[in-house]
Symmetry: C2
Subunit: 231 residues, 2 copies
């Protein structure tokens, strides 16, 4: 795993992310077959995407939390567009709803073009290295947390305890090895399994916010907190 | 035009954006023809996209500033994901390098899925209403500024005068009808024509930042400034 330990490194984890390849159970569904035909791909090598496979997804467990690679894409761009990431002080991990972990190698440039991003994720999830930029392997969120050894591990959720974002970011910046967990799914809340690996649950805004908005704001405040501390 | 005037409304303009339909001059280029065939579309009805049409784009003027609908997409998502936008206190306009203006109707939900976004933009730029959500018409940045009647009109650029972002946002929040202009292109700086409509040019970070990162940070600080003022 690409896990770094050094001063003021922040680990960001997108948890239970709605990112996966189309599963065998729905390979024969009309929406999937027509997508495969259009793209000239083998079944099991394309990303599940609600906007294309909606009708086929009703057979899946927890369909409302799955098939949103677009959310993962936007969230990764929000994280990797920051000066914090450019300086190598942010480590990004994606955990999926199907217990796959994707480590984003340091200073990887996530493609802004969605079609290229989709290709990269399809390669990585299919066990190809994705050019060494993104590596996928089976693992639970707990496995990832063990590898990172985070302290503290804080989940952000509208069900958490309210904390002003600037103060929260400064608390993180003063921690030994902080990990922030953000949900990589469109609706609903963290599962019990995810809640079980968190030390705390924090709410940073009165309204529920999209993952990419949470990430942008958190990383900005984290950068400002580091500047204040180093001043 | 969807231009609103009321207290603490912020106008955000993405200027010289790299968003346009493929122009007649390159309809016959191999990269364009194969894309048209794949999508089953008529020429002139698809977005110019560097990741697909790179080889054909060298014939165009200013190719380095064009064909990046992905940047416009991410920037619009960063803006429309904010509580400020949800409260109806942010008006978003896109000006393109080819002098087309797109007004985003208030409380429009920009599709997060890129393929849906692409379809919406292709419809709007082709003169179809895009479901009334996005309306396109010919116009220069100066035309748009006249319609908004902004005061002040501030461009954000790495060539601008440094100003701390929190202080800048508060200055905007205390203005009568503030307009912020951000470049919607991948490289380079504002054209002379754009500089000509700006009252000031401000730099908010020592490093050049991507448009979506600038937008996320600015809107977050603007929300905080409004909270401070209203407290």
């Amino acid at each position: 795993m690409f896990v770094e330990r050094q001063r003021q490194m922040l680990n960001l984890v997108l948890a239970e992310s709605a990112l996966e390849l189309v599963q065998r159970g729905i390979w024969g569904a009309p929406a999937v077959v027509s997508d495969l035909r259009r793209r000239g791909k083998e079944p099991g090598m394309i990303l599940l995407d609600r906007s294309l496979h909606h009708s086929a997804m009703q057979k899946l467990e927890n369909p409302e939390k799955r098939g949103r690679p677009d959310l993962v894409h936007i969230s990764l761009l929000s994280a990797t567009g920051t000066p914090l990431y450019a300086r190598g002080e942010l480590q990004v991990h994606v955990h999926t709803s199907q217990d796959v972990i994707l480590d984003v190698a340091r200073s990887t440039r996530i493609p802004k073009n969605y079609l290229r991003f989709r290709g990269l994720m399809e390669q990585a999830l299919d066990g190809k290295s994705g050019g060494g930029l993104v590596r996928a392997y089976g693992g639970t969120l707990r496995d990832l947390m063990t590898a990172i050894g985070g302290d503290p591990v804080v989940g952000l959720s509208s069900q958490g305890k309210p904390e002003e974002l600037g103060a929260f970011a400064e608390r993180l910046a003063r921690s030994r090895n902080p990990v922030v967990v953000v949900g990589g799914f469109p609706h609903g809340h963290f599962s019990k399994k995810t809640l079980g690996v968190l030390d705390e649950l924090v709410r940073i805004h009165p309204d529920p916010l999209e993952a990419h908005v949470v990430i942008s704001r958190l990383l900005y405040e984290f950068e400002k907190a580091i500047e204040r501390i180093n001043r």
